[in-house]
């Protein structure tokens, strides 16, 4: 996307029409009884991606992952991995490994034996197996634990062993079900970076499932936001954040202010919107909309500007209100501003100065303004 992070390569694979997807999910539906866990999903993931399926619980993200692993079979649709149709292939013949949310370490085996498990199935000679086990123990820095059993490990150590076991067969595609879900916050943040480094070093394609949007934002090359078995948007973290394609995605990722209104005029790239709060908005629109379309303008709290005096921009893109709530978070402060039309607007300000005195206080009258490119115009 236009405003995305500076890319490492000139063209990302998903932008390249000639690139061949490594994983292709083609109109896959999975039904349990009369519940559609996965509903007509089409998705392409490219070699070397760190792809995240993001959604709240019950949105079908784990089912989609299990379909890729072969632990479930689709009700309809096809799944291709590396160009091969694997829709009906059982898990033990798929070139895919999975790291389970519960880790699913074999309790009667040592760390070493757990890692070696998959290699035995490949009938590798013992020497080679041991080399591979050592490689994995080194890679994840768990060599001192090699003779321990899973019940003698901490949560973080288990997570590493599970990762080592799933990587031991050098899969081209690794599926991770909430890989950091069971770790505490501090450990999770450190492990996020480690996981990304590992993925970049090995070049393995990762598809992870997570409900944690921050986690998805930090780690992923692309994110698919899921809801009720369907994919709502697939894009890079920046694009998902800056250019959500729907109200659902905008609200799901981060906080957002939603201003409802109706288009009353087209002015070049911009549209003029009559807002329900009683003012006018001029916003850059990525898609053309006819006059009269009801729209929602989504603006992130940090994109709003605070003015102690009435802004001088012809009463467009501005709001007046009083400070109702202040939340001091250290690096930033969140302000909730109530407008005369009872609308609650949220904005964040970075605390650049030592907080010796209040920039704003409760019940203070303020003005808020924004630029036409600071948000997106949504119709859904």
């Amino acid at each position: 996307m236009a405003n995305g992070t500076p890319s490492r390569r000139p063209l990302e694979p998903w932008q390249d029409p000639k690139a061949r997807p490594y994983v292709r999910i083609d109109r896959v539906t999975k039904r349990f009884g009369d519940i559609y866990a996965v509903d007509d999903v089409t998705l392409e993931v490219y070699q070397g991606e760190f792809f995240s399926l993001l959604g709240s619980s019950g949105c079908g993200k784990t089912t989609l992952l299990r379909l890729l692993a072969g632990l479930e079979y689709p009700t309809s649709g096809r799944i291709y991995i590396d160009g091969v149709d694997v829709t009906e292939v059982p898990p033990y013949f798929r070139p895919v490994n999975m790291m389970f949310q519960s880790y699913a370490l074999f309790p009667h085996m040592t760390v070493e034996q757990n890692i070696e498990f998959g290699l035995r199935q490949d009938r590798l000679p013992r020497r080679e197996r041991m080399e591979r086990v050592n490689e994995m123990l080194e890679l994840l820095r768990i060599a001192p634990l090699r003779k321990r059993r899973p019940d003698q490990l901490s949560g973080g150590q288990r997570q590493r062993v599970a990762l080592a076991r799933s990587l031991a067969k050098h899969p081209k595609l690794l599926l991770l079900d909430e890989p950091l879900g069971a770790l505490d916050k501090r450990l999770r943040e450190n492990t996020q970076f480690e996981l990304v480094n590992l993925q970049e070093r090995l070049g393995t394609t990762f598809i992870t499932v997570t409900h944690d949007q921050e986690e998805a934002m930090t780690m992923s090359s692309r994110i698919a936001v899921m809801e009720a078995g369907q994919i709502r948007q697939v894009d890079t973290p920046t694009a998902i954040y800056e250019f959500p394609n729907s109200r659902f995605v905008a609200e799901f990722i981060g906080s957002v202010n939603l201003f409802e209104g109706k288009i009353i005029d087209l002015q070049g790239d911009d549209v003029l919107i009559e807002a329900q709060f009683g003012g006018l908005m001029r916003m850059r629109s990525l898609q053309p909309h006819p006059i009269g379309t009801p729209v929602v303008v989504a603006i992130r709290p940090e994109k709003l500007r605070l003015c102690p005096t009435p802004p001088n921009n012809g009463r467009v893109n501005q709001l007046q209100g009083v400070v109702e709530d202040i939340a001091y978070l250290g690096d930033v402060s969140i302000y909730r501003i109530r407008t005369p039309s009872r609308l609650l607007v949220e904005m964040t300000l970075t605390n650049t100065q030592p907080r010796t005195e209040q920039v704003l206080t409760w019940d203070q009258e303020v003005w808020v303004e924004w630029s036409p490119t600071s948000g997106v115009v949504l119709t859904d």
Binding site: A69, G70, L71, P90, P91, Y92, F93, V96, N97, M98, F100, S102, A104, L105, F106, P107, H108, F117, G118, Q121, D122, R165, S166, K169
Partner: protein, 301 residues
């Protein structure tokens, strides 16, 4: 001060009762009878009431202790007893293996059945207990007889021309033992199998393990405690089994239980019967103690 002392003592008393009760129970109903049996096994049979001699006597101010070890000698020398012991162990072994081979798939099927079906299926396993054990074994006579249900059915099918001789053979004992003790194998296995984490099998499949391999490398090793518990619950009582071999078995190959019965009630040789009981106990207990030791050591490492 005094009040505090009382309340301080109270938990200690509670703990004493807590620990004491099972010990008291074991002491009264296991250790004491064992000592009595051991004591009888060292006496000599006598035409008195009770029918054995005293172990010690005061004769002219001298304490005479007479320990009779001839029974142990007899048991180890007379092939009748040795054979009965071996036969008992053999029947118990066949019975245990039979129960395991039949019971494991059944327990597995129940444990993997949909949740709503599990309780009814378990009930079917437990239901036979509602009929007397003796009656159930008797019923097998009716089934295995020369003109019983089984032979009648096979003759009607035309599979055989004349009735099979099953009743009063070793086969009938195996059938009776496996039938009677199957629930004791299934229940601990079922308990173990339901606790098995299904995602472990998914993980095994994901790592390239086919279903049979997953069973061999994951399911079976993890249900080994259930296998051991079930096997002990079958093996130990079957070694001393009396009713089944007596009703269904071949009178030519006796089990220890039958010999004990004969010695106690027919021959009135209580010391010999008691000696047999002690020998049997030693045969059963010693290997298990050794096994448990090994297991403990294994866990320590």
């Amino acid at each position: 001060m005094k009040l505090q002392a009382v309340s301080d003592d109270e938990p200690r008393l509670g703990r004493l009762i807590n620990i004491g009760l099972p010990y008291l129970w074991l002491g009264l109903f296991f250790l004491l009878p064992f000592v009595i049996v051991l004591r009888i096994s060292l006496a000599e049979p006598a035409l008195t009431q009770p029918p054995y001699t005293a172990l010690w006597e005061w004769v002219d101010g001298m304490l005479e202790i007479r320990l009779n070890l001839r029974n142990l000698q007899l048991i180890s020398e007379d092939s009748l007893y040795l054979q009965a012991l071996l036969n008992s162990l053999w029947v118990a072994l066949v019975g245990t293996l039979g129960c395991l081979v039949l019971g494991y798939p059944m327990a597995y099927a129940i444990a993997t059945a949909p949740e709503r079906q599990r309780v009814p299926l378990l009930m079917l396993i437990i239901l036979p207990f509602w009929t007397s054990f003796l009656i159930r074994v008797y019923a097998w006579i009716g089934i295995l007889n020369a003109n019983g249900l089984l032979n009648g059915f096979l003759l009607w099918l035309g599979v055989i021309d004349e009735p099979l001789k099953i009743l009063h053979t070793q086969t009938a004992v195996y059938i009776g033992v496996i039938y009677s003790y199957l629930p004791f194998m299934i229940l601990p296995l079922y308990a173990n199998l339901t606790r098995l984490d299904r995602t472990l099998l998914e993980a095994a499949a994901d790592l390239g393990c086919r279903p049979w391999c997953a069973f061999r490398r994951i399911t079976f090793p993890l249900t080994l405690p259930g296998v051991i518990a079930g096997s002990m619950l079958v093996f130990i009582p079957v070694v001393g089994e009396f009713v089944i071999p007596d009703l269904l078995g071949n009178p030519g190959s006796l089990m220890v239980g039958q010999l004990m019965w004969t010695e106690f009630f027919a021959n009135k040789d209580w010391p010999l019967a008691a000696s047999l009981a002690i020998v049997l106990l030693a045969i059963l207990v010693v290997p298990f103690v050794i096994m448990q030791r090994l297991q403990q050591e294994n866990e320590m490492n």
